[in-house]
């Protein structure tokens, strides 16, 4: 079973496959194709066409068209969006398109053309990106300068939708900010916390003011925020009206760390995204934050003793000066991973691919909360074949577990205490620790398949094998080509729905709702241990990448 994270072949493999294919057809085509692909160096064919905006249909001038195949060429479109590339040899080529303000179309399957006598003009599409811009004003309508603005967007990777910080900026002296080159989708905007920074002289030194952390349009936390929709080729406006609040001082100490070891102290909004606020820390663990606008925040501290991580966190509601804020660091318990391998053939339990000491499985814990419990997008991972099997540094929070065995093993069960990791998210609470217990078996099923013969055009795509009933257990993904189909080994016996997509990059396939609309085009199959089953699939066109 091959399950790669980004389902596409490398360019070289595509080229070789296509060259082989077109050589096979050479005998049928009247074009002169010599047996060696490199002997026809300049070729006598031309490729012409135009590049248009996929939303408006309007031509795009000065777009860069690059052609890859036996030879590499490039050209810019003219003012009417037309281009022409001459001296191409017959054969198949890939076309890349690029222009700032449009999403990069590199390696897109839609842009493959066969060069030959009958090649007509092509129409290539570029999807325009969008932008979000706005102004930060105070309640008096005056612009707020130097206010930090954060853009939170989501991306789908490996079938999972995750939110992360995609941009940050500061409002200029007119209060304006702008985020450009944004893929269409939903975004959240957050502003602050910040000071009325252009005023060094406070109106009254005793009551300096600042602005709290605010999520567009006007919510103190993310749950009350409204997402902003970015539509291809359009600019969305989002203005903030900030109410000045008093500023307070917060001080305290981080304790229970090894003297001489560094302590990291960071501040977050109450929704868990990192904010920039000046924290003064001393060697003895005491700290002060001199300018905290009134509001609710999270402080997180971490340090190390040996290779053990210590953590502490506290939620603060700041409505007055706060002294003696205490963060007591405590070790994060390790989560051991216990793997049991079951096989009818005892010799399989100790092979180069894996053994009881070095199980052929890797585990990932992916933060499930809207912005992750980690400031940066990160996943905690234990690799396959590693001797030490435990997670050492998992922040408390909610995670989705991704258990990935090496073929031919499949996961029969994976538990964390009472939680079934194959169907549910897991909550890691401070101080509590179970082991992760995994049972692997090697009597899995093999699934092979290909597309319906009615699918004529040569194509590639992704096969999705989703266990039924729908659960969080990972769908398995593999490439297929209309020529050779696909093959997956080491599947757990059971019921599945099998989908064949032309593009699955942006599909949130770990979410059963996202797959709902395609279910009627999927093929159900039941797999048995040690059996090979073959299916014939419909190609599902998702309409993406066109």
């Amino acid at each position: 079973m091959s399950s790669s994270s980004r389902p596409r072949f490398s360019r070289e493999v595509c080229t070789i496959l296509f060259c082989t294919w077109c050589l096979a057809l050479a005998g049928l085509s009247p074009a002169q194709v010599n047996s060696s692909p490199y002997s026809q160096n300049t070729g006598s064919f031309a490729l012409s066409g135009s590049v248009v905006n996929s939303v408006t249909g309007e031509p795009i001038a000065r777009a860069l068209v690059r052609v890859y195949g036996v030879v590499q060429r490039s050209a810019f479109t003219d003012i009417e969006g037309h281009f022409q590339i001459d001296s191409l040899p017959a054969g198949s080529i890939n076309i890349d398109l690029q222009k700032p303000g449009y999403s990069n179309q590199q390696g897109s399957r839609a842009n493959r053309v066969i060069i030959g006598a009958g090649t007509g003009a092509v129409v290539l599409k570029l999807s325009p990106l969008g932008a979000i811009y706005g102004r930060v004003l105070d309640v008096a309508g005056q612009p707020v300068e130097n206010e930090p603005i954060r853009l939170i967007g989501r991306s789908v990777r490996e079938g999972r939708r995750r939110w992360n910080l995609v941009g940050s900026a500061e409002s200029d002296e007119d209060g304006r900010f702008r985020f450009s080159s944004l893929a269409p989708g939903s975004y959240y905007l957050a502003a602050g916390p910040g000071m009325q920074s252009e005023m060094h002289l406070a109106r009254d030194p005793k009551s300096k003011t600042g602005f709290p952390s605010l999520y567009y349009p006007n919510a103190p936390d993310l749950s009350g925020a409204s997402p902003i929709q970015v539509v291809a080729g359009q600019q969305s406006e989002a203005d903030f009206s900030m109410t000045a609040v008093p500023i307070y001082k917060v001080s305290g100490a981080v304790t229970n760390f090894e003297p001489g070891r560094g302590v990291i102290l960071q501040a977050f909004s109450q929704s868990g995204d990192p904010i920039s606020i000046a924290i003064g820390m001393h060697m003895d663990g005491t700290f002060e934050i001199n300018a905290v606008p009134a509001g609710t925040y999270m402080l997180k501290a971490s340090s190390h003793v040996g290779d053990q991580t210590l953590r502490a966190e506290i939620r603060l509601s700041v409505a007055a000066n706060l002294d003696n804020v205490s963060l007591v660091l405590a070790p994060v318990p390790s989560i051991p991973i216990k793997v049991r391998m079951e096989s009818r053939d005892a010799s399989n339990l100790n092979s180069p691919r894996g053994s009881q000491q070095r199980p052929p499985v890797s585990v990932r814990l992916i933060p499930a909360a809207i912005l992750g419990t980690e400031p940066s997008s990160s996943m905690v991972q234990q690799g396959a074949g590693q001797q030490v099997q435990a997670f050492h540094d998992v922040e408390p929070g909610r995670y989705a577990a991704d258990v990935m065995p090496l073929s031919p093993w499949y996961v029969q069960s994976a538990q964390y205490g009472p939680t079934n990791l194959l169907s549910d998210d897991v909550t890691i609470a401070p101080g509590q620790s179970y082991p992760i217990e995994i049972v692997l078996r090697d009597d899995g099923a093999t699934l092979t398949g290909n597309l319906q013969s009615s699918e004529k055009s040569a194509t590639f795509g992704s096969v999705l094998v989703v266990p039924q009933p729908a659960s969080k257990r990972g769908a398995k993904v593999a490439q297929f080509s209309s020529q050779s189909g696909f093959r997956m080994n080491g599947l757990a016996p059971g019921d599945y729905l099998v989908y064949a997509f032309d593009h699955a990059d942006t599909l949130e396939y770990t979410n059963a709702d996202a797959l709902q609309s395609y279910a009627s085009q999927a093929t159900p199959v039941t797999l048995s241990a040690n059996q090979e089953t073959h299916v014939v699939l419909n190609l599902i066109r998702t309409g993406e990448g066109e």
């Binding site: 160096n41 001038a61 700032p100």
Partner: protein
């Protein structure tokens, strides 16, 4: 008064005829007042809602914190009462008016002297409105240039000479727009550095077909995208000599658009020498070349849009350079355990095609080192530093002076040229004797020739002096004059100059003065004067006051303002 510094209070009563003073009505028991009106310096209109603040200046060289703040009324008036005798710095700030001090010029301003017989209640505080420059950077096809670095230079008097120096920079957004605000009036230039979005400067990145004909085509293809933009000066010049100045007035919102033109990119291959085995960027080795261009009057501007590639062993490639004249420097690599005998090297080259540079025949940086003895003391303080500054290129090199008196500029990229030598953060010390071998030292100016090592030897003595005084015009105290302490042989002793601005009572202080013979000059409206240029200074010297400054003593002078 110097911002952040202070003068000791010195009232010079003899020269002030009391009957011409307006009545000062505050009785001594209630304290004194500072009052006046804040106006827009451009329109003369009074400004309401301006934050105004005062901070007492202490006798020990630093101002205390703001002691009183208030907001000007609708008529622009402000008043602070109950003040003790002394001097106060006066500041104001409002939306559209950056924080400014009273009558400020450069780092100097006039403090308000408060006390009996002093007028501090009819002040007119002229606030300069902020100006801004914004515009768009486009390419020759009228497409916006994203992520271009726009650098702002100002032509102003720096260290007594009129020079064009960088003061700010910004980046263009996806529409090619940039904006720089909170600017004071002055003469500005813009320099834009960018790479075309479609540039592919690393030709080695494309696959190499085996067939030579295809290779030729591929090379042609690669060349079409191996382009760059030269450093471009507003509006459209690749040479700083052709840059148009932007004369910015107070409150003006200027627009300056720049057009970038594509040129074929050149590659510079630097052969770092086969002697060093191992990769160039190994851990512990930080050998990154620095490529700069000379712009304006000789300022060395680092090139920022050229990627560096280190794929081949022994060769560092600088890609994407536009044709022109460059200074290439390779600082000494600080590999652990490696002695500083590998001093690094530099070359000045004219690049009009791809070129190769061999390290072997490039001159090394100059090794400057030295030792001093501390007069009367076995060891000196621990945190003194020596500075070599080159006003023409804008380079400044600092190196610590050990408490045994040793120093070595081994980590610095010192090229031949003319440098000023001084103690940075002197803490009361100065060079009482200084001599050099390997270079010509006149006064505090060091002329370093090529291919040498320079040794400086001297004596460092404790005891800087101070000059306090009053600037007068027709017998009346003159506020806001520039006071310049001019050393003998001014052309060779720039580090010995001291400056101040006279306060509201005409008083001034020149501190940290190296003992010696000087002339004190007071100039009214001098703020565009090249005071460091001896020819410019000559006519004022005649009307100045001679001053013999000795260590740790305070000299008092009165100077006539011209």
């Amino acid at each position: 008064m110097t911002l952040g510094r202070v003068a000791c209070v010195l009232l010079f009563a003899a020269g002030l005829p009391a009957q011409t003073q307006p009545a000062v009505s505050t009785p001594a028991t209630q304290g004194y007042r500072i009052a006046g009106v804040v106006v827009n310096s451009l329109t003369g209109q009074p400004l309401p809602a301006v934050a105004v603040a005062i901070a007492p200046t202490t006798p020990h060289g630093s101002s205390r914190e703001v002691s009183q703040t208030m907001v000007s009324g609708n008529d622009g008036r402000f008043a602070f009462a109950g003040l003790a005798r002394g001097k106060y710095s006066l500041m104001a700030e409002a939306r559209g008016f950056t924080l400014q001090s009273f009558e400020s010029h450069d780092a100097y301003s006039s403090a308000i002297a408060v006390g009996p017989n002093l007028d501090s209640e009819d002040l007119v505080f002229r606030l300069q409105p902020d100006a801004s420059i914004e515009g768009q950077v486009i390419d020759e096809n009228n497409d916006p240039v994203q992520n271009a670095t726009v650098r702002l230079f100002e032509k102003r008097i720096t260290e007594g000479q009129r020079r064009t120096s960088p003061i700010n920079q910004g980046q263009t957004d996806d529409q090619g727009h940039y904006r720089m605000g909170h600017l004071a009036s002055g003469t500005y230039y813009l320099a834009v550095s960018a790479r075309p979005w479609y540039a592919q400067n690393d030709r080695s990145a494309s696959r190499r077909p085996s067939n030579p004909d295809i290779q030729a085509h591929a090379a042609q293809e690669a060349a079409a995208l191996d382009v760059t933009y030269p450093l471009t000066f507003y509006p459209d010049s690749e040479d700083s000599a052709g840059a148009n100045p932007i004369a910015l007035h107070p409150g003006e919102q200027a627009t300056a658009d720049v057009v970038m033109h594509t040129v074929p990119a050149l590659h510079l291959r630097i052969h770092t020498g086969g002697g060093n085995s191992g990769p160039l960027f190994a851990i512990g080795k930080t050998a990154f070349p620095r490529v700069s261009q000379r712009i304006f009057e000789g300022y060395l501007d680092p090139v920022s849009n050229s990627p560096v590639s280190g794929n081949e062993p022994g060769v560092v490639q600088i890609l994407g350079l536009a044709p022109g004249h460059y200074v290439v420097e390779m600082p000494a690599s600080n590999a652990a355990g490696e002695k500083a005998s590998n001093r690094g090297w530099y070359r000045e080259i004219d690049l009009f095609g791809d070129a190769d540079l061999n390290v072997g025949d490039a001159p090394s940086f100059v090794a400057v080192s030295g030792s001093v003895i501390f007069q009367g003391e076995a060891t000196g303080p621990k945190n003194l530093a020596i500075q070599l500054s080159n006003p023409a290129t804008g380079e400044r090199f600092n190196t610590p002076l050990s408490d045994k008196g040793q120093f070595d500029f081994s980590n610095d990229t010192v090229r031949p040229g003319r440098y000023n030598v001084l103690l940075s953060s002197p803490q009361g010390f100065f060079f009482s004797k200084l001599s050099a071998t390997g270079a010509k030292l006149v006064g505090r100016t060091l002329d370093i020739p090529g291919g040498s090592s320079v040794r400086l030897v001297g004596v460092v003595t404790r005891g800087l002096g101070q000059v306090d005084g009053v600037a007068l015009h027709d017998g009346q105290p003159f506020s806001g004059a520039m006071i310049v302490l001019v050393p003998q042989d001014p052309a060779s002793n720039l580090p010995l100059f001291r400056r101040d601005q006279s306060d509201s009572d005409g008083s001034f202080t020149l501190s940290n003065v190296v003992p010696g013979q000087y002339t004190v000059v007071a100039i009214a409206n001098p703020w565009d004067l090249e005071w460091g240029n001896p020819i410019v200074l000559q006519p004022y010297l005649k009307g100045g006051e001679a001053a013999q400054v000795t260590g740790e003593a305070k000299l008092q002078v009165k100077v006539e303002v011209h």
